[in-house]
């Protein structure tokens, strides 16, 4: 009899511990270098940027004010990893189509060829709304510098297929410009997890029951 009681106490304890660990894993980490200045922790943030989207609209950080967003880097004529990453970005787009607290941004790494009309054609072909998903073009150097801040590799490389080398990561950014999660955009399972992380971040940024 005692054994049964001991066992059920043990089980209850396990259950409680499991509950707490579940809760503590509900908060996403803040990714990147951090500094402690006067006892305050300064986290890595995405710097100011000015880009132009497929509708010739200016896109800056203030476009994402009070929103969380996902970002990736691509070029329209890329046939290596981009199409799969785009298919997964589309999944995110469709999952959160009616939730205006989340937006998407895709930076071209080939601004020389990806002109605004080229981005517009691309956007039309995948049938996306420019208010929800910005395909943007900026100065080459600015874009590559920005990629660094997203922890993404992006550069011109004549030996790479299409002439550009970039990683297929999809990054998740919070309302304070901090990187909170990421996924390899070519891996469906990682993107499944990223979608869950987006829900978590929406809850922690905007509160539950929205």
């Amino acid at each position: 009899m005692n054994r049964i009681i001991a066992f059920s106490v043990f089980c209850t304890l396990l259950f409680i511990i499991a509950c707490f660990t579940e809760q503590s894993s509900g908060e996403l980490p803040i990714i990147g270098h951090r500094e402690i200045v006067n006892k305050d922790t300064i986290y890595h943030t995405i710097p100011d940027f000015i880009m132009m989207n497929q509708d010739s609209m200016i896109v800056t950080n203030s476009t994402f004010e009070n929103k969380i967003y996902v970002a990736d880097f691509f070029f329209t004529f890329c046939t290596v990893i981009c199409p799969k990453v785009k298919a997964n970005m589309l999944r995110i787009y469709e999952e959160f189509e009616d939730d205006d607290r989340l937006v998407l941004i895709s930076h071209t790494v080939a601004p020389k060829y990806d002109t605004i009309p080229a981005l517009k054609r691309y956007a039309d072909k995948i049938n996306i709304d420019s208010k929800k998903w910005h395909l943007v073009r900026g100065e080459k150097e600015t874009t590559y510098q920005l990629a660094d801040d997203y922890f993404i590799v992006a550069k011109e490389d004549p030996t790479a297929p299409g002439g550009y080398d970039h990683s297929g990561k999809i990054m998740l950014i919070d309302t304070k410009r901090q990187v909170r999660s990421f996924a390899e955009g070519t891996e469906d399972k990682e993107v499944d997890r990223l979608i869950k992380d987006i829900y978590k971040l929406l809850n922690s940024e905007f509160g539950k029951g929205h």
């Binding site: 046939t79 290596v80 990893i81 199409p83 799969k84 785009k86 298919a87 589309l90 691309y122 039309d124 072909k125 995948i126 049938n127």
Partner: protein
């Protein structure tokens, strides 16, 4: 007894092979085609056309080896949707590899009209 076991194992091996007889085609499809046409052959919206259940593929079978080798730069109509994203040539694929890719596609999504290496070579001679 041992002979029977070997026979049984051989039979299992045979059946598991039959599941996907176009192993090379599958690998080649994943390496050269699936980036744009996707693993499930569905393509990507208006950007890359589907290969699975594609009327264009079925109607232009004789031309498919040429498209794989030389690419495609026309605007085409697939299941009623216009596509104009150019497809790059894949000159490094050998004739038997092209045959294996087409047969993998036929086996997986088509109506099983398989192609021989000889037919691929004949088709390649008549490329536009």
């Amino acid at each position: 007894m041992l002979i029977r076991l070997f026979f049984l194992l051989g039979l299992i091996g045979l059946f598991s092979c039959q599941n996907q007889p176009y192993k090379q085609g599958e690998i080649m499809y994943k390496n050269f085609c699936s980036n744009c046409h996707m693993d499930n052959g569905q393509g990507l919206k208006g950007l890359y056309p589907p290969i699975a259940n594609s009327d264009y593929f079925q109607k232009n079978k004789d031309n498919v080896p040429c498209i794989i080798r030389h690419g495609l730069h026309d605007t085409i109509l697939v299941n009623g949707i216009r596509f104009d994203t150019p497809m790059a040539a894949i000159p490094q694929l050998k004739d038997p590899e092209i045959a294996n890719i087409i047969n993998y596609i036929e086996h997986t999504w088509g109506n099983g009209e398989y192609i021989t290496i000889k037919e691929v070579q004949e088709a390649l001679k008549k490329c536009p």
